[in-house]
Structure formats: structure tokens, C-alpha cells
Amino acid sequence: MPAGYWCPVLHAHLPYVRHPEHPSFLEEDWFFEALTETYVPMVRVLDGLLNDGVEYRLTMTLSPPLVSMMTDELLVERYHRHLDNLVELARREVDRTKKWQPQFHDLAWFYLHELSDIRRVFREVYGSNLVSAFRKHQDAGKLEIITCGATHGFFPLMDPVPQAVRAQVHVAAQHYRKHFGRNPDGIWLPECGYTPGHEVFLKEAGLHFSFLEAHGLTDAHPRPSSGVHAPIVSPGGIVFFGRDMESSRQVWSAESGYPGDFDYREFYKDVGWELPMRDLEDFLPDGERKNLGIKYYRVTGRGVDLGHKQPYVRSWAMGKAASHAGNFLFNRQKQVEHLAGSMRRTPIVVSPYDAELYGHWWFEGPQFLDFLFRKMHFDQDVVKPTTPSEYLERFGDLEVCQPPMCTWGADGYAEVWLNASNDWIYPHLDMAAERMVELARRYEQAGPIEGRALNQAARELLLAQSSDWAFIMKTNTMVEYAKKRTRDHVARFDYLYRALSGQCMLEEPILREFEERDNLFPEIDYRVYR
């Protein structure tokens, strides 16, 4: 019997970005990069663990937009093209570096092998369907996949129209059932955004547990006796796990976290920006520079500017990943031993991370997890990995406490998604949500074309509600795109609302255009908004 448990949670989400109207679209690269650098490498790690009989446990959110993109024909086809280009770039880099930059030649070979292997796993092992890969691990009892908001809408700011929150939860649960063949037990509240009272929507969808930022538990009323190291149940009957800050900081922190180690790969120095354009013209179809995914430098040192970075040495980085895994394990052992001494129950340390932290941001992250699970399995018995369902089955005696409103954003509340950069969207999103409820109530029964229009209106509303747009506006990264997406979905919704209210003609070709462009949730039923 271990002294305590570790529950790693990877939150995998990307907004739904799919632009059939353009031959290629920069923002679709978010998805392609995530596949190449995070999701396929993670699957490869999990496969290795499974094959070697390692008792790993992992909890993952696969958000409905991400699952929809992973199973979308057009995007998968484009990803094939993207991967082929990448492998070809790596091949050319092998030739180029041999002659011109021998210091990177070994590394160029590494990329060629790595990318070819990613392509092999994606195409040959899983037949271009990565969802089936995750499902396989879930069916093996090692991975617990939980759901999320249908489009990652930020629930606390949807509170004035409760039906909008309900729809986010119900559509997501339905989508999960379709892709994973079972009911989800847990949900990752988008941005960990919780408002008291939302339990009712989770209950209706058959969900049992979720996760909160640490102060969701420490500030709960009455006060839980074990802090964040034991789940609580709210009076509404939903179990909440709290985020452990210590283990989070070890990976997340820009200052003291592992990913900042000097031997790890530098994120910001990419051949897409480094090589002369003549070497890249086949890989930059629009002629504009962007990250291509081949990077030759390491972090090198704190405050070292990009011009003075040193070459990346793969073997050093792997050595560091192994040693960091050992360090992380040692810290968890000491932590659970300490907690077990002061608690009346077996502690659980819950460590949620953005999935893309592993691989995309921290290139060596998947290998770190690989080393960690292996060490945890073979080297010790003090701390063992677990999933929420497994832990709750064993330790189901819970304190009843009411968490306060909280999120995992900066300062713990909603400021990231509600501030001067993005507050203007809420009156429009809220109005659209109210109108959607109005439509759903007005059309108890709808004719075929009205039914399609109503379902599409629901899709447009859901897409407009993605918390990603408000987040991007705040972080000032791709603001124009985020504004465009908000506007586009609100505009399409507005058209459908007016058409369904008799204020303009409902034109089937326009409706079809919307359906083709925003094609997720084909099974949606607008009555969810009643």
C-alpha cells in the first residue's frame, strides 16, 4: 500500500480552427504543431508504457473541438500534407547541414528519424485516427479520458443564461459518448471556471467529478480538513479535486520549472526564422516566415539572447529529462510521506497541466513523463499514479464543502477573460445566448430546413463562446484572428436568428455554407437550449 497517490491530469484543448475556404491557413498550424509535438509523441510514450507492462495512470481531457479536429477529414488530409512537408524539410536539412552546418548534422538526422516516426505512428499504427489511440489506452484501464465544455466556453461568465452552460455540458457529454462509446465520469471545467450552482448541469449530464484551482478547496465552506490533498464533495453532489501547487510549479514555472533548464531545446529559435528564404520557399507557401518545428538550439542560459544560443545536444537533454523525472518523483515521495503523517486518509496529489506544455512548449516533456512513470513503477512503492475514478472507488468517504467561484486564471478569478481588452464581447455573447433560448422555446417542432438552421445557430453560438478568443485578446497574440472569429460566429448566428424570426429570408445555400464551414457536432439538437 503506497503512502499516497499522484494524479497527473493533462488538459488537451485547442479551439476549433478549420478554414475550408482557404487552401492553407496559418492558425490551422496550431493543431498540426500540437499533433506533431504533443499528441502523437504522448501516444507513443503511452504505447511504450503499455507494451512494457508499466502500471501508469493518466487523466486527460480531450476537449470536443480537439476530438472533432482529430476526426475531421479535411484537417487530417491537410495534416498529412503538413507532415510530408516537414519530413521533406528534415531530409533537406540533413543534406544542407552536412555541407554547411556540420555542427547540426546529427541533429538534422534526429529530426528526420523523429518526424518520420511520428508520421509512421499517425498513419500506419493508428490509421490517421488519434482518437482511437487514446480510446485504446482508456479501454486498457490506464488512461481516464474526461470531457470538457463543448467549445471550452467559460462558464462563470455565461451565468446570466444558465441554459448556455447546460448546453455546453450536454453537447460535450453527447460528443464524448459518440467518440468513446461510454459516459464520461468527469469533466474539466474550461479554465477550471466554477460558479456555485453549476453542479446541476453536471449532474444532469451524468458527470461525477471535476477539478478546481487550489483556492477552490482551501477557501471552501466549511473548511476541508485535508486542504487540496483529498477531494471534497459539494452539497450539490459533485466531487472536486484541488490542484496541488507544489508539483504544478515544478513544471509550470518559467523561473524554477524544469522546462527552463539550459540543456532543453529552445522554443523560440526555429529554422522557419533562421534559414534564408531560398531554402524555405517550398515550405512557406505564403512567403511569410513562421515556426516550422525544427529547432537546433538549447536554452543555453538565463537571459541569453537568441543570437547567442548554443547548439542543442539531444543526449544531454535526455539525461536532464531522466534526472528531472527522478527529482520530481523524490519530491512526490517526500510530499506524500509528509502528508500521510498529518492526514487521516491517504493523500492524493493532483497535478493538472496543459497537455501542450508537454512536447510543444517543453520539447522533452513526453520523455520526462515516460521516465517518471517507469521510475514510479519499477523503483519504489511510496507513491503510485492514479486516476480520479480509481481513487474515489478506493477512498470514497468525502467531506461536504461548498467551493467558491474560482478559476485557474491569473489571480484565480475571471479577470483574464473579463478586462478592458475583451469585455466588449459579453453583451453580444449573452444576447446571442438569450436569443438561442428564445428560438429553442419558440420552435417546439421545426421543419427540416428550420431544424437545420436552429442546429446551426446552436453551433455558431457555441463556437463564439470559446474562451480561447477572450484569452487571445487578453494575451495580445493573435488578436485580429480572435476578434474575427468572435465576429464571424456572432454574425452567422445573427443571420440565422433574423431568418428564423422572419426578419429576413432563410437561404438554404447560405445555411449550407455555414454547415460546411462550422461542421462540428453534426448530431447537435437545438432543444438542449430549452
Binding site: P162, L202, K484, R487, E513
Partner: protein
Amino acid sequence: MASSKKKAEAGKPSAPASGTARGTRKATAAAASKPAAAAKAAAKRKATPKTAAKKAAAPKAAPKAAPKKAAAAKAGPKKVGARAVPKKPAAKARGPAAARGRRGAVEEHAPLGVPGLSDEDQIRAAKYLPRELPKLLFEEDRFLFPETYGVNRVRLLVRDPEWIFAYWDVSPAGMKDLGKSLGERALALSRLTLRVLDPVSGGSSDILLPPGARWWYIRTDSARRTYRAELGVTLPSGEFRRLAESNTVVTPRVGPSPRRARRRMSYRDARDLPPSAAEAAGLAEAETGVARAPWEAESIDGAAAPADAGKARRGGASDAFRPGGASDTFRR
């Protein structure tokens, strides 16, 4: 706009390459000869429903038109004319591209398996793969977020323990009616006002809103408290005329609770708890632990707040759509 531009561009290079596309040939040739006019015409047509209906029939011709689309796809991103496009790879690209549909691409996993092409050619050719580029009928970029939705409404959102966010909408027709009943002069001297009140323990505070404001951040009391807002007009006499009422919100508790948890529930029991129990618990939560002491902020107009203590409940759309509900009624 974007699509019409693309059409004009596509017309230019695709004329020689569209031999097989019988149905679309004429149109393409026309576009090639007068690209600007074609673009204009396309833009114009887009607005009319007739074209839309015509376009509905278009997909029938789509398979035949595929090679032309290859050229269109090529032309889109490349900015034709900026660089001489080698004819050979483009011509070869059409072969495999036309042969395999989208579905085939996913299943075959051999995207460019054409004999006689070097790797480099294949990569280059990939740029010209046909995209089924839909002609866009609906122009989102012409959409402007409305200044008003034409209803009286006000809503509150909790941003954090210290701030709540209020946004509202005022019906221009309603204001006109008010002007009629009060007189234009009195209306001009009136101020749109947000009255923030604590429905549980009483107390209110008025915020005289500057003209043109659509939302407002409201600093809250430090205690966990329930808030509701009323949007209204403060008349020159000081009288407050309510236009709409908001949802009710509760600011979050900060810091550890002084009371230790004693009640326990098993996971099994929690799972079995029905949604109705969760709803009841949610309503109870909105009332527990909120500040009971009266709110001390001074009201600007000194009006007494309605003392419907204990009636705090979550508002929402259900209220908004009740016929004749508070939020839509102009109360006199």
C-alpha cells in the same frame, strides 16, 4: 469581398488549364478577359438571393470542375504574376490530385504517389493540391456589432471578489416613449442610472452613467455579498424610473472558512444524488454565508432599497423571456 477577389485572380491563370471543365469554361474565360468586371459582378451577385439559389445547383458540376479548381487553389495563395509558375509541376499535380478525392487521401496515406516525380517535385506539387474552395455567399466582414439590441436589459457578471461587471442595453423606442411622457426637456436633464443593491441585507448605491457607456465595472464590498442591479433613469426631480432589472450574483468567499467540515458523504451517495438535489443545494448556497449586515455605501439619491431579504435567487434568461417580465417592461 475576399471571394470575389479570388475569383478574379483565379480567372487569369486558369483559362488555359481548364480544358475539361466544360460547364465552367465560359465563365472562366469571361473572368479572364475582364477580371475586374467579373469581380464586381460577383460581388454584386452575392447579395442577391437568386444567385444563391443558382449556386445551390452548382455542386452537380463540381467533379468535372476539379482541375480548374486546382488552378484556382494555385492562384489564390501565390499572387499570380509575382513569380513565374513552372507549368510542368502544376500540370503534373493535377493528375494525382484529381484522381484521389478527399476521402481517398485520408485512407490511402500516399498523398503524392505519382511515378516520375522527384521528392522535390512532389513537395512542390503539394502546394497546388485542389481545394474545394467554396464560393462564399455570406460576408461576415460586413457585420457590425449592433449598438443596441432594442431591449431594456441589464446583466451582472462576477469578475472577482472585488469587482462585478454590469452591461446593459436601452431600447431607443422606450426612451422615446419616456420622452413623450416626461417632455423632451426633462428627459434631456435625466441621467441613465445603475442602481446596485443588496437584495439580502438591503442597501443600495446609484451610479450615474455617462452618456454612451455600455458597461461598467463596479467595486464591491469586501464581504461576500449578493448583488442585483436595476437600470433606470434618474429624473431631474431625483425620482428613479426603473427600466430593467438584472440577474442576481454573489461574490466569492475569500480565505479559509472559520468552520471546519463535519458533514460527510460517500462517493456512492454523491453519485446517486439527483440533479434536483443539486439545484436545491445551489439555491441554498446563494444564501449561506453572505453578508447579513446592511451595506454601508451611501446612496447618492438617498433612496431606500427594497427590503426583500431572503429572496435572493439566481436570475437568468428564464426571467428575461417571461412575457411581460421585469426586464422588458418599462415601468412607470
